[in-house]
Structure formats: structure tokens, C-alpha cells
């Protein structure tokens, strides 16, 4: 469930407001968007992928938030998923990494 918007990283671009498929975020007049409808979060991690600043953290628990207060509470650095799928400039080579064929062909 979405837990954190890092005020230090967020630039207020509101891409997450648009990209969240369940309309969890609401823009604010000044500063970062707010998590307005946390209970509607489906823990799909898509907002993290679309955030160009790695300002979001989705906790892995789907039923309830973990109660993280700040970025320092997150067990891993923000942005690990975006890096893993190759959506950061430094990791773009990962975009064409997909070993599903090897998993599928295993006996």
C-alpha cells in the first residue's frame, strides 16, 4: 500500500496523480500531492515506476499500511523497482532483460 511521498524528492509534477490506476492521489495547491484515498490502493507499484524523482514508496503489504513515517523508515532505498525494470537512464539496458522464456521452458 502506498505509504510515502518524500517531500524532499517530490517536485510537485503530479504525474502520480494521473498515473495511479485507482485514483489514490490528489494534487495540492502547494507542494507534493497527498495520499487522499489510501484504502483504494491496490499495491500495484505503478506509481513508483512513473515517478521521475523516485519520491514514492509502496509498502509490500496489501491489506494495511506499515506505518512508515519517513523515507528513513523504508527498508530499501526508494526507486529500486524503477531501476530494476530499466526505467532510469542508468539502467535502461534492463528494459530488454526478460528471462521468462527460460522459466517457461524449464522442466
Amino acid at each position: 500500500m502506498i505509504e510515502l511521498i518524500s517531500a524532499a524528492r517530490c517536485t510537485g509534477c503530479n504525474i502520480c496523480v494521473a498515473a495511479c490506476p485507482t485514483n489514490v492521489f490528489a494534487p495540492s495547491l502547494s507542494g507534493p500531492p497527498v495520499i487522499a484515498r489510501q484504502a483504494d490502493c491496490q499495491t500495484c507499484f505503478m506509481c513508483e515506476l512513473y515517478c521521475p524523482e523516485d519520491a514514492l514508496y509502496v509498502a509490500p503489504t496489501a491489506g494495511a499500511p506499515l506505518g512508515l513515517a519517513s523515507e528513513a523508515d523504508a527498508p530499501l532505498p526508494l526507486g529500486t523497482y524503477r531501476a530494476a525494470i530499466g526505467w532510469t537512464p542508468a539502467t535502461a539496458a534492463n528494459r530488454s532483460v526478460d528471462a521468462m522464456h527460460a522459466v517457461l521452458s524449464a522442466k
Binding site: T22, T43, C44, P60, A84, W87, R95, S96, M100, V103
Partner: protein, 541 residues
């Protein structure tokens, strides 16, 4: 583009094709329709590109090179699992169209991995990458995309043909209406608010809207797919549990428990207590492959500090309903038309029995179906939409939650909880009996009567009200069909009729809202080399 804009209540557009749903099927339909020169609007309940079951995940896709022997083997290999209900001719069409579509996807920028010789490997797709590209392709072809714009009801003309839809714009707080020549329903399956990845918005909205316009359904008894996930997480990837050892609370191995062919054993144990898994049968090379195949699978584990290859973790089964089931809107011809003029169905909203009968084991077939049915429906809807006359008079076809039929509106949350209570429990939906299905249907039928005799929902509740009404309707088509199939076939498992009955190798049509009826249709002729042998064959666990 010639869109007429702005009505007092919000946005009012006119076009040839309206697509409802922006997942794989909807974007392929919109892209294909727009390429014929049609004006196309795509309305998505969330954000086209992140919505639905495909975007947050990765999926295998039923891609087979055009070698007749390989194609034939691929088609035949799944027939028994599906209870011998699939149609070889449709399967061949899907393989052909999917092959062409994936080559086009690569040419347009999808970064397929390559083998040692530099050839693209096209047997899987990464959801975020795939759906980001599909949005881009649809927009590039001129499709107008309305995000966060759930449809609430279809519009029909004087003759009963579907002629558009209307809905709400959640982020603008107003409404939209699209007067269209034809509509493609690509709203996905129905997963009944389970936590299965990407399924929250998949509440059968399109099923309800289509039924209100007169469409019917096929294979709704094949609607009880459950997927394995860590019990705290949303991420489902049953395939990876092929490498799991399943244990009980005390750490004892559960005999017979397996991701395929032993999932019912897991369900039985979960009825009594906790079940744990550890993916300890994957060697180092396979562990690396799994990470490189599905980064999303590991997110919940990494973030909880669990190593799924060495640590035992509790698991659950998330209902995937008709998302991974195979029932949906009935298709009446090769264009993916429904029985209602002007209304087409694609992807998981449509029946997938044509290519997989009563069982799907993974994204593979559903992903190929989404591509193929989307392309066919988009093209046919554009042809139809260009031919309809101008100046048709339209009216909303919606019922429960929209029309004034009673003194008070119903409580959407309470109505949703009632449906969930009837379809999530294994005892009711996984292990079906006449007694249990009948009891559920009593509650669901009376709920439908209550919802359809209520006052319209107000602005903030109307979406949730329509979702609850849709889930109620879908559950009734499911269970009425399940009651009529007095055997076990495909994923449909009757405790009181445990064997397959050769006399029931037919398809079931479900229809109606006030009264639900179920009728038999013949399945495609059984090929000479497909033999139903021993009792019980064709039942997937």
C-alpha cells in the same frame, strides 16, 4: 478530429468507435480502429497504461512460430485441460493474429530480449513496458483517451443498437457522454475486489452494461480461478510456485500440494489453517532467471526482508474470478460481435472458451486473446460505426444504481460485502455443490431485486454502486451456470458431481438480469484425435 465538445454536465464527444477499457484488448482495439481512419475515443476507469491486470505484471503470451506442426501441437496440448471445449479453428486464428501483432510490436519499439543469435524472443511481455507502448501507439494513431473516466451505462438507439456510453470524470468531478457508432467492451474480467495484482478495478462493470443492452454470456461457470500469493502481498505469480515446497504450520510437507494439479489441496489446508511455501526447488540459475523474468514478484519479499528461496512464508489464494477464468460476453462471429448490434467484446470481458475451453493456466492464452480479439473487434467496430445513420435518438440503458426505482439508494459497500461473502470462500466457489450454490443464489437474487428497486446513487457513490450491482449480476451468471453444469470440467469443480460427464461436453449461455436463464449450445465438433477417455480427464486442479 471534429470532436464536438462540452455539454453542461461535462464532456460530450461524437465518434465512430468508443472503446471502454484501456488494457491490452482495449488499446489494441482502439489502435486498430483508428488506423482505419475512424474517430476513436477510449475511456478508461483508471489510467490507460497502468490500469488492469497486465500493466503491473509480466505475462507469457501464446506465441508460436508459423510451423504447422508446432501450431497444431500447441493447440492440441491444452485441449484436455480445457475439458475439450476449445475450438481449433479459433485457436489457429488467434495464433496467427498474435504472431503478426507481436512482430509489429517489436517493429514499433517493444524491447524483446534476444537469443544468442540476436533473434527476438517473443514469448513474454513486461506489463509496464507493454502498456506504456500501447498507450503511445493508440495516441499516435489519433485515439482520444479519457483517463479516470469510468463508464456507467451504455446508450442505445430506437432499434436497440448500442450507440455510445456515458460516465463520470473522477478528477474533474463532472460527466462525459460519447455518441458513438459502435462500442467495444474491453473492461476486463471480474475479480470481486480480491487482492490479486491489478484486479481492484475489475468488478464486471462492462458485463453489467452489456447485459443491460441485451448481451449474453458464455462459460460463466469457468470463473473460479485462484492464484497463489504471499499472504501479505498482492503479487500473484502461480507459475513460480512450481518450484515451491508447501508445508503446514509445524513445517511438515503437505502431501499432494502443488501449484498445478495440487492447488485444491492447498485450498483444503487453508480452510483449516496456515500454509507456507519456500521456493527451495529453484537452483541458483533458475533463481536468477526468475528475478530477470519478473522483478515485480520479488518486490514484496525484498521489502519484507524475506528470501523466498530459503525462508518459509505464509501463502494464500487470491480469487481471480473471470480474469483468469474463461467465461465472459458471448461472441457470435469472427468479428467479436455480441448479439447486440453495435456492441463488440474483447479481452477478458469476452469469453475465452473459444481458445482454452474451461481452463487457463496462465496469462499466455488470455494475453494472446486480448491482442487478437482487440484487433478484430476494433476493425469491425470501425466498419460498423461508419455505416450507422446520423441523428439517432439515444437513451441510457442502465438499471440498478442509476434509475429511480425506489425510495432510498442502497449502500454500495454493504452490497459489495454481500457478493464477496458469496464468491470468495473456497467452500462456496472452489468446491461447488448444489446446496451451496443454491444458497448463494438465493442471497444474490434477492440482493439484485433490492438493488434494482432502489433510488439512484448520488454523485460520490454512483461508481461504487454500479460496481456492487455489476458484481452481483456477474456472480448470478456464474453460479446459475455452475448449478446447470452437473459435472466437473475445466476449472469448474462440483463436489457432488466429481467426474466429467461426456454428455455435457457443451457450452452454457447465461442471460438476463431480473431473471437469469441458462441454455446449452453445442461445442465445436470433437476432432478425431481428441478422445475423451477415462472419467475425470479434463478436470484441472
Amino acid at each position: 478530429m471534429g470532436f464536438s465538445s462540452s455539454a453542461p454536465s461535462g464532456l460530450h464527444l461524437t465518434c465512430e468507435v468508443l472503446v471502454l477499457g484501456g488494457g491490452p484488448a482495449g488499446t489494441w482495439a482502439a489502435f486498430q480502429a483508428a488506423r482505419t481512419g475512424a474517430r476513436v475515443v477510449l475511456a478508461d476507469k483508471g489510467f490507460c497504461g497502468t490500469s488492469g491486470a497486465t500493466a503491473p505484471s509480466g505475462t507469457s503470451i501464446w506465441y508460436v512460430e508459423p510451423d504447422p506442426k508446432l501450431r497444431a501441437a500447441a493447440i492440441v496440448s491444452r485441449e484436455a485441460l480445457g475439458g475439450f471445449l476449445a475450438d481449433r479453428a479459433w485457436s489457429a486464428r488467434v495464433l496467427e493474429t498474435t504472431h503478426a501483432a507481436l512482430h509489429e510490436l517489436g517493429a514499433r519499439g517493444y524491447p524483446f530480449p534476444v537469443d544468442g543469435a540476436g533473434n527476438p524472443i517473443r514469448v513474454s511481455l513486461q506489463g509496464p513496458e507493454y502498456m506504456r507502448l500501447m498507450r503511445k501507439l493508440a495516441k499516435g494513431a489519433g485515439v482520444r483517451i479519457l483517463d479516470h473516466s469510468p463508464a456507467l451505462e451504455l446508450l442505445v438507439d430506437e432499434a436497440g443498437a448500442v450507440a455510445g456510453a456515458r460516465g463520470i470524470r473522477r478528477q474533474q468531478g463532472d460527466g462525459w457522454q460519447v455518441d458513438a457508432g459502435a462500442v467495444v467492451i474491453a473492461t476486463g474480467g471480474c475479480a470481486f475486489l480480491s487482492r490479486a495484482l491489478g484486479c481492484t478495478a475489475l468488478t464486471g462493470d462492462g458485463h453489467l452494461m452489456a447485459a443491460e443492452a441485451g448481451a449474453d454470456f458464455s462459460g460463466m461457470e469457468f470463473s473460479n480461478a485462484y492464484a497463489i500469493a504471499a499472504d501479505f502481498a498482492s503479487v500473484t505469480k502461480t507459475l513460480f510456485f512450481k518450484w515451491a515446497t508447501f508445508t503446514d504450520e509445524a513445517g511438515e510437507v503437505i502431501p499432494g500440494a502443488a501449484s498445478n494439479g495440487g492447488r485444491s489441496v492447498i485450498a483444503r489446508h487453508l480452510q483449516k489453517g496456515r500454509v507456507f511455501a519456500r521456493l527451495d526447488r529453484a537452483d541458483a540459475a533458475m533463481q536468477a532467471n526468475m528475478r530477470a523474468a519478473q522483478p515485480n514478484f520479488f518486490l514484496p519479499f525484498d521489502r519484507m526482508g524475506i528470501d523466498p528461496f530459503t525462508d518459509r512464508f505464509p501463502i494464500t489464494l487470491h480469487l481471480e474470478g473471470t480474469v483468469r477464468g474463461t467465461g465472459g460476453l458471448r461472441i457470435v462471429d469472427e468479428t467479436c460481435a455480441t448479439r447486440v448490434p453495435g456492441l463488440y467484446a474483447a479481452g477478458d470481458a469476452a469469453t475465452r472458451e473459444l481458445i482454452c475451453g474451461g481452463f487457463t493456466g496462465g496469462g499466455s492464452h488470455n494475453a494472446a486473446w486480448a491482442v487478437s480479439s482487440g484487433r478484430w473487434a476494433g476493425r469491425a467496430a470501425a466498419d460498423f460505426g461508419r455505416r450507422v445513420p446520423n441523428g439517432r435518438v439515444r437513451r441510457g440503458a442502465g438499471t440498478a444504481g442509476l434509475r429511480d426505482a425506489g425510495a432510498r439508494p442502497f449502500d454500495p459497500a454493504e452490497a459489495a460485502r454481500t457478493v464477496v461473502g458469496e464468491v470468495h470462500p473456497f467452500a462456496r466457489n472452489y468446491f461447488r455443490t448444489e446446496e451451496g450454490l443454491t444458497r448463494s443464489l438465493d442471497r444474490l437474487d434477492s440482493q439484485w431485486a433490492r438493488l434494482s428497486a432502489s433510488a439512484p446513487a448520488d454523485g460520490t457513490n454512483v461508481l461504487r454502486a454500479r460496481e456492487a450491482a455489476a458484481m452481483t449480476a456477474v456472480a448470478r451468471w456464474m453460479y446459475r451456470s455452475a448449478l446447470a453444469r452437473t459435472e466437473s470440467r475445466g476449472m469448474h469443480r462440483r463436489i457432488d458431481h466429481a467426474a466429467a460427464d461426456p454428455a455435457q461436453r457443451h457450452l452454457l449461455t447465461a442471460a438476463g438480469l431480473a431473471e437469469v436463464s441458462v441454455a446449452q449450445r453445442p461445442a465445436a465438433a470433437l476432432a478425431a484425435d481428441a478422445v475423451e477417455t477415462r472419467a475425470g480427464e479434463g478436470i484441472a486442479a
